[in-house]
Amino acid sequence: MKPRDFRHLLAKPSAGVVSRSRGNDDANAAFPTPVALLFSVFADLVFGRILRAAPESTVKTGWRDVVAGAWTLLSISLGLALFVNHARGLPIQPWRALPSATSITSLDLDSARERGAILIDTRSPEEYKTRHLSGALNLPYQEVVEGRRPPSRRGRYVFYCSPGCGRALKVAQLAAAEGYHEVFVLDQRAYVELYP
């Protein structure tokens, strides 16, 4: 069984990132904390009342209070968990927050440089020689297909090619699938600098 990566649970989208995948904050926005707390109180009131009002013949008095109390405790725990996890930036709806394995976030040029990312040009060497973004390394898509890879899995890489070409995304998805830790594609709007 392939080990899964859990680090994205704690990842918070930073400013300047145009995200393709929904971060935790986005996922939690649809279910904010007050709603979580209201839900918990509501659940307790409704079900607790039903349980406590159950006729004697169906549930014995002693047990009825015990079960109703257990329901109250469950509601308190759920409310507390939602509240604290929301405050800590953890997903309270993980089924919405978890991105698929191949979803790649795009970065604009400024935030890429701000975060000290290595820019990787996936176009052909000729295109690279004509003009490339300052500081970018050349790793042609053809060579990636032949097995060449960015040097370290721990590096932070931003891939780009030409407008409308999908090679940067393909390389990024490949790298992410192979366990590279931080992989992005360059936001298409940054290509203005490349093709003025």
Partner: protein, 142 residues
């Protein structure tokens, strides 16, 4: 007096188990995944919510608030934990228990026995009641 001790013991165990998990939610999520019992996203959700149930149960048991309800839930939890660790041992999984610390000895039948002990504690409290020095005395005394 005896049930007060039992209540404090069970509450303390739950508190100890909860705090580590709340501190390191990601490693607990990994642990739940290692058991290979639940679908990934259900496991993650459980890992994020379960520690708070343990925390509330622990606090309520120590304070003696809704003690018998706590004991009922604690009994349920210990049955679930016991079955999970037994199945992990039965399938020969080399996983840490994840009960108190993220790094621990691999899970085995001993953990199931400990869970049976917890179950016994919980059933005793459920049968006898909170004992002395419980908040229940203030709220629910006749």
């Amino acid at each position: 007096m005896k049930t007060t001790t039992l209540r404090l013991l069970l509450g303390g165990i739950f508190l100890a188990a909860a705090l580590e998990k709340i501190q390191y939610p990601v490693s607990f999520a990994e642990m739940v995944e290692h058991y290979q019992l639940l679908p990934f996203q259900v496991g993650v959700w459980l890992a994020l919510v379960l520690p708070y149930l343990e925390l509330v149960l622990g606090l309520a048991l120590v304070l003696g608030f809704l003690s018998r309800s706590c004991a009922l839930l604690a009994a349920g939890l210990s049955i679930v934990f016991g079955l999970a660790s037994f199945s992990a041992w039965w399938r020969g999984l080399d996983v840490s228990c994840g009960c108190f610390h993220s790094q621990g000895p691999p899970v085995s039948w001993i953990h199931s026995l400990l869970d049976i002990g917890l179950l016994a504690l919980a059933i005793l409290i459920l049968r006898i009641g909170p004992g002395r020095w419980a908040l229940d005395d203030f709220f629910y005394s006749d």
